[in-house]
Symmetry: C2
């Protein structure tokens, strides 16, 4: 979890470090995530739609490639909030938080807890791993779903 806020220049620097390039597409996608309201999470499809409403036609292929790249760089967090597709959000230490998810309706609540990141730091350091992200995921059944008697 290296940087906290990326400018076009700092993203460019990190990409160049690895022999990669800064493209308009990457810059635009990063910008979307940095300006996303707190608590919002985007799937690849949702990101594609949002880009289109803002007048940016970026192909789904590029979107999938970019979010994966940024997750592997530690810039985005990859979240398993739903059954069949991933969600992404920006990864910024000072907004570091966790997710409480209802396994039936997927309603998600974010919460903060300072000790979790400490545990992640300590554990990865101890094993010699380079930390990218550290997330506590709570799977549970929300009050509304507890009341309903639907299957599982």
């Amino acid at each position: 979890m290296s940087m906290s806020f990326y400018t076009a220049d700092s993203l460019k620097a990190e990409l160049h470090e690895r022999g990669w390039r800064l493209t308009p597409q990457r810059e635009i996608i990063l910008d979307i995530f940095q300006n996303l309201a707190a608590g919002k999470h985007l799937s690849a499809e949702e990101l594609c739609d949002l880009l289109q409403t803002e007048g940016h036609d970026i192909s789904l292929s590029t979107i999938y490639r970019t979010v994966k790249l940024m997750a592997r760089m530690g810039i985005l967090r990859e979240l398993e909030l739903a059954e069949d597709h991933k969600h992404y959000e920006i990864n910024q230490p000072h907004h570091h938080h966790h997710h409480l998810i209802c396994v039936r309706c997927n309603q998600t609540i974010e919460f903060k807890n300072d000790s979790v990141l400490k545990i992640g730091d300590k554990t990865s350091k101890k094993e010699g791993y380079h930390l990218l992200d550290c997330q506590l995921t709570i799977h549970a059944v929300c009050p509304a779903c507890q009341r309903s008697i639907l299957p599982v």
Copy 2:
């Protein structure tokens, strides 16, 4: 995270509570997970193979249905250890642990931490959620993969 160890009878009881049935397939699959070596995680395909070597022909459909059912009941934990398929392990409070995963080679290290479950309990209780599972997942790059210069 209700029970710690299931017998055929206690599984039957929990199923019947919801109008469901105890089948030989469910009993056998639960048995596999309860006797799995610590640190082992099974995908649906791996579980299918393992069942076959033990002389049990259970269809893939049933396997997928059963692990999902048991995860939603809180009996199994659903883990995202690899990119393209899920893994499962038994969910027992006294063996409660977490995972440090290399995002490049998927090597996984298990570790324990008592405070994490407390955070999960407190948070879900506060929101009125019924806790099923609570897992801290650390995404990182292992020492070996840090040395290699391969793409992402």
